[in-house]
Symmetry: C2
């Protein structure tokens, strides 16, 4: 008999509320014969204030024993900027070698977009997750003086770039349009830019069916608002991926529906799935958060574990729910109930 | 009697065409008693192919003798990516210490935007121009092998950050809404992020009338498409400024109308004014380019040299021209003629 052994990290703010709905829909969609076991972890601001810990080696060992991780959101204004981001979120991505950060963008029917003319948007960003300016390399001298110098070092390796570029080509190859865009800034960041561009061109030769293009990150932001339909698969560096996926989420229905997977394709470590949005402390505990992004992250999680038809059922349910949303706002719980009912129906 | 001694760099592609219109409007707007002297320089792809040179020390000495520089566009597909960008554009910005890269965004009446609902957009981005990831620091080892490592180092100094932050506060203070947003990614790029944030907060104490906010660059791209009216003045790092000003141009009428100034506020070196758009080789020589961005860059140039009323006349002319544009496309030359007629009228 099959089983899913899931680590659950509700985290801070609305994380608790949205994760509860994700689990509700997950239970509803799974066939009877699949045994779902969940273990909740208390990472986030509360634990940091109580213990000073963000993510210990023992925590990593405990998380490692699971098939996958579902995360709500981590972050609170009571914690200095960077502490939980670097000490928990990025630490976990790096420790578990989550080098494929997968962020699909699809504008579903009936969903509002800030763009005029309701364009067709259906692309996926493959963001590198373990290198680039996110490595934490760099430092500060003469801190707090008029002579302070602070550096940030973007580290890029052939190994790290090639594996994520290959992943993106394989995804492009498997999609009907078979298009892949590399986004970088190779005219200014020439060292990293040439590494990315050369590897991209080398791997392209092995995928003759995939149509490729290169685009500077600044130009890409223009196309994302003027011609978003042009994109199919995008591969990009960690920082550029961070920036363009928020923009991509904004134009394709908002961060209320943007899902993501932090994937370790080898399976050596569990992959982590989380909504792109943050902990939104301003609306936490009020039942106002839209759990759709978390529920769609559960779909990515299921697809990663091989439950393709269950993943598709969740995506269809969210799509139908969004299309039929009326003007009356529903609570987080009501949306979760509606989605659970749809997937089990 | 007054005089303007202008260095003119038409450059590549549509650069030639749009600069011709910029000069036409400049001549038309200047009062009789102002003597305009221009000297043209042949920088760009053609000279690079002929001589291998992009910008020599002798060139810099020659440029230095002018009151300001007007640039069309530099860049051509025949030149490898990075050669002209690093060898000319960035070299000039760094050599002449153009630390205030000024990029206003204003959605003028009658101008199309990809955003629904025609929002009110009127803000200015103060982009740092001489530091950050643009310094060219970094390198490559084991190039072309499976063990290649490429780094890019973002260098940030208290000196460099404070002067541009002060410039932005002064600009915010002088505007009716008096708002200033710092855009960075201080939760991940913690070394540079803390330097920027601390200096921003320190200088803020000297400008109690200015309302400030901090925003991560990823979140900023969301607000630029969902609430662009919220921005008044933005100050940011060189790379983030590059990215968000292209997005800002896209939402506020496109790069056909986006102007910029690379300013050395001390006046030690001449400042340079240029459209945000590139050389657009695909439409070069066909009279299809919109010269408005260059003409608006001439307005920034005039304001920088103290010709405030002439600058305003150009801005009003472009605004009126855009509002009255019919469906029939006009040539580059026709738009230039129309603008010249308006400013001299
Ligand atoms: C919270 C932050 C560390 C994170 C990132 O920059 O990757 C977030 O913005 C994201 O996109 O998941
Ligand atoms: C061409 C390039 C070097 C330049 C930059 O990145 O600054 C351009 O994109 C700009 O914004 O002026």
């Amino acid at each position: 008999s099959r089983s899913i052994n899931l680590a659950v990290i509700p985290g801070d703010g609305i994380g608790q509320e949205v994760v509860a709905q994700g689990l509700k829909v997950l239970s509803a969609v799974l066939p009877q014969d699949v045994k779902l076991e969940t273990k909740e972890f208390d990472f986030g601001a509360k634990r940091y204030h109580a213990t000073g810990e963000t993510l210990t080696d023992a925590d990593l060992d405990a998380l490692k024993k699971h098939d996958a991780i579902l995360l709500g959101a981590i972050g609170d204004p009571s914690v200095p900027s960077g502490v939980l981001e670097r000490g928990f979120l990025l630490k976990l991505r790096f420790a578990f070698d989550h080098h494929v950060n997968l962020r699909p963008s699809k504008l579903l029917p009936g969903v509002a977009t800030p763009l005029a003319g309701q364009p067709e948007i259906d692309f996926v960003v493959v963001r590198e997750g373990t290198e680039g300016p996110y490595t934490g390399n760099g430092g500060t001298i003469r801190k707090g003086t008029p002579h302070e110098v602070a550096t940030e070092v973007s580290v890029n390796t052939a190994f790290g770039v090639e594996r994520v570029v290959r992943d993106a080509f394989a995804r492009a190859q498997a999609r009907p349009r078979k298009k892949l865009a590399l986004i970088h800034k190779n005219n200014v960041l020439t060292f990293a830019g040439h590494l990315w561009t050369n590897i991209f061109n080398k791997v392209a030769a092995e995928f003759p069916e995939v149509t490729t293009e290169y685009m500077h990150v600044d130009a890409a932001t223009i196309y994302l608002v003027t011609q978003p339909e042009r994109f199919d698969v995008i591969v990009t560096d960690n920082l550029f991926g961070d920036i363009i996926t928020d923009l991509a989420a904004a134009v394709s229905g908002g961060i209320g529906v943007a899902a993501s997977g932090n994937i370790n394709p080898s399976g050596e470590f569990p992959s982590m799935f989380e909504p792109v949005h943050g902990s939104a402390p301003d609306i936490a505990g009020q039942g106002k958060a839209d759990p759709s992004a978390t529920v769609l992250s559960v779909a990515l999680l299921l697809r990663h574990l091989g439950y393709d038809s269950e993943a598709a059922r969740i995506e269809d349910a969210v799509s139908a729910d969004l299309a039929e949303r009326g003007a009356t706002p529903r609570t987080t719980d009501e949306i979760g109930d509606a989605l659970a009912a749809r997937v089990s129906g």
